[in-house]
Subunit: 499 residues, 2 copies
């Protein structure tokens, strides 16, 4: 049995080698590749993806997984879970016929191009047919994969294993009940001024400040690097080489700063995964929601917190005296936490952000339940923006056409962004209990105890626990929106001087 398990490990490592190679090619594409290289690079990535698929779906490998699963009692707990996770994945991947995979890839290609054209024309109608076909094939996919309660769950499983629409319904009904009213209170209070964040900040100085902040967080530059790209992202080729990218807007200090901290949070998770379990579930991140919890904890709970800037702000003022010498710490702290309803999800503050996700989640569910026609999506979108954000959507480009996700068939993806924030709040609250004087440490420029806590409680476990199990193990209860709400109330009541 031990020998079979070793064969399994070898195969998973080989698969990881190919998948991480794809990640290198993709990183290079965004960071370095000269424009003419695109076509052959796409072909090279497609070939490696096909090879990875062949390695994982090999029938002999499936037989091995089944054999190991049947005799799992001879394996230790971590190995048992690895086999269980891999077999689950194997069965999922093998649910797809080649015919289906080819067809979905064609539908996706068509939808992506239609979405691009629709954005250019600023007209949803250009996209309508192709999106309709994409929704149809995603419905087909959910039937093919199977589900207990709701077709949404079959798709959600890809991004947030074990999570269900039932669980999301509870969370988002809390969002509606509590966050909508709270957000209205904020918008009725006197608004804070963040205009000095939108002045000219020197590019090179921003770049160096970003590197400084990553080091400050504990990001290991011996096992990673930062580069520039059009859209910031993090990627990993192993725990020993986990990279981040950022972008710099010379007229917006926040653009670089929080994307840098956000991607740094993702990368700290990857750098913290156990290298000895490379390629195995026990060496991989749990879910998109948990991954996002790591980026958002650093971005918002730490990086938009008062303690962090009590330490960092004097240095920042010295770096950008023209921009910041007139703004004291409190003014800066308020400015970086300005809450205001807006049209574009990726530019939203940490409060109204969740309405953007809520709207997408509600529309996705309605579509899968056949309760909303494709042609009616823009209307549904716009009326929900009015209802939840009290904002008029002027056109499709700033409305329903803003995200790429549906064009790629990624239904079920959006909720993981909110899950990230909610997990982050609950984890940070627990860290504050577990670590004596956490805020005091951060105020003194020491993030190491927090990183150690994240390493020990989250990173090091890989997929040994599901998101739900991990949350309970760490905080003693399942994911609860209460923690995010408590955090939001405490923070923003101060900033907006609510009664």
């Amino acid at each position: 049995m031990q020998k079979s398990y070793e064969t399994y490990v070898e195969n998973m490592k080989k698969l990881a080698d190919v998948e991480f190679s794809i990640a290198v090619l993709s990183w290079d594409k965004e960071v370095n590749m000269p424009p003419k290289g695109a076509a052959f690079r796409a072909q090279q990535v497609a070939t490696l993806s096909g090879i990875a698929h062949d390695i994982f779906t090999d029938e002999k490998f499936g037989d091995l997984l089944k054999e190991l699963s049947e005799k799992k009692d001879t394996l230790d707990k971590v190995a048992q879970n690895n086999i269980a996770q891999s077999l689950k994945r194997y069965n999922r991947v093998n649910s797809y016929s080649t015919e289906f995979v080819v067809r979905k890839s064609e539908v996706t290609s068509a939808a992506y191009h239609a979405w691009e054209k629709a954005r250019e024309a600023n007209d949803f109608k250009v996209y309508e047919d192709a999106l309709g076909k994409m929704i149809d094939i995603c419905k087909e996919e959910s039937e093919l994969l199977g589900y207990a309660d709701h077709p949404y769950d079959a798709l959600l499983e890809e991004y947030e294993p074990g999570c269900t629409s039932k669980e999301l319904d509870v969370l988002f009904s809390d969002v509606k009940k509590q966050l909508v009213d709270f957000s209205k209170m904020l918008s009725q209070a006197p608004q804070v001024d963040n205009s000095f964040l939108l002045t000219h900040y020197d590019k090179d100085k921003q770049w160096n400040y970003g590197l400084h902040i990553l080091k400050h967080m504990g990001y290991d530059f011996e096992a990673g690097r930062q580069d520039l790209s059009v859209h910031p992202f993090s990627t990993s080729f192993s725990p020993e080489d986990s990279r981040v990218t950022t972008r710099i807007d010379e007229n917006n200090f926040g653009s670089m700063t929080w994307s840098c901290i956000h991607e740094g949070g993702h990368a700290l998770y990857e750098q913290g995964l156990p290298a000895t379990n490379y390629g195995l579930p026990s060496g991989k991140f749990i879910s998109l929601g948990i991954h996002e919890s790591q980026s958002r904890l650093w971005e918002n709970n730490v990086g938009r917190g008062l303690a962090f800037w009590k330490n960092q702000y004097p240095n920042l003022q010295k770096t950008f005296p023209e921009n910041l010498s007139d703004a004291d710490l409190q003014t800066f702290y308020k400015a970086i936490n300005k809450v205001v309803p807006s049209l574009i999800r990726t530019e939203a503050d940490e409060i109204t952000y969740h309405f953007h996700v809520l709207i997408r989640y509600e529309i996705e569910k309605l579509l899968l339940e056949n309760k909303l026609a494709v042609k009616d999506i823009p209307e549904a979108w716009n009326s929900k923006y009015k209802a939840y954000l009290d904002i008029d959507v002027p056109d499709d480009k700033q409305g329903v056409l803003q995200d790429i996700h549906w064009a790629l068939g990624s239904f079920g993806y959006f909720p993981t962004y909110s899950l990230g924030s909610f997990y982050a709040a609950q984890f940070y609250q627990q860290a504050s209990k577990d670590i004596p004087n956490l805020e005091g440490q951060i105020e003194h420029g020491d993030c190491s105890e927090l990183l150690k806590w994240l390493r020990e409680n989250i990173h090091t476990h890989g997929q040994n626990f599901s998101a739900q199990q991990l949350c309970k193990k760490i905080t003693g209860e399942p994911l609860n929106f209460k923690y995010f709400m408590d955090y939001a109330k405490a923070k923003y009541s101060g900033i907006y001087q609510l009664g």
Copy 2:
């Protein structure tokens, strides 16, 4: 038959996708990778190499090649040659048993580490045993691969297909007969002064000047890029993405400049290969010697030529006035062509360089003929340096331990460097005949006709012709040392004012 040929093409493209992916990972390793990433990167490259090997050595693929080879009359000429080249390669690769491959990889690993240690200790004896084993296994390899005349030919075939030691013997006997005496004449003439090339040249200005020169040569930055690395190299991921690297020594203007032109020459060859034949022999470079002919033609025949600097020098003087305002064009031209016997091959001038290769070639042959014991290599090395270069080798590090090639088992590699220069001279001489007023064009800053000539006569043909065939096709005769000697005499008689 057409369908079988298409299957062959698909398989070759798939193989190329994997091989070019390895090239991306290797480029990233030299240019970007953080230090801790090395171990997993090595594993990832090894896995992809294994996959590439499996694709190419698949028995079904071999059967397909044999089938296509037997019925080749139904294919066009290019396709026939593709099949012939691939089948030759298939048979060569399949000559190795897995046992042999594993054993050679172990011997190589041991030899490499022993070489590193020996360099550290500056003592050949530390390396002697491991090198002995490497020589033994290379002898075994040549028997396993088979040869008509000399075991050397079996190994040479890997780097310079179709070339034999008989051909090399003729060339190097010419080198000995003509170049040794000529070089002595140069060393007896009054020496030129190049001290102003070894003053401080600003790093950023050098970098920009390198980019300028690449553009001037016709290197397409839409299909490539330049980066820094410890050792300059060129690499290719497709004709649409062929990259170069350089290094900058702030106290040596030549280090960046000629490595930049040299690697640019390699990359121009890769950018000129026909993209439509991606992955096929008809889309690949012919041999290391022909590849090197492209780098050396640009580096020496163009980049160390008077015409090139007649055009470039005024601009260069303006860029580095502190270094160059006192040196006129003739002084600069002489300085960049200083000939002086030296210990280190990679730092040698274009004349004495070939003695370094000659010495290695003679020693390699003696070893394969069992006429030289491993323990006697340093003595043979040192006495040959005295004989050909009239120079005393002070220690092993500056002598027999300077190159990595033998530690990697690359016997037969060195001659391709000299072949490159000799082909370059013969090609350039022909180009000067074919292109009206070539030197005048270069003097006026126009390299485009030369590049066009190289594209049409060399690059575009891939492996449709062997090196020997191509040389005859272009110049009307086989490779002939005479052209290099004519070039050297004409150029250096002027520089050194020989009677």
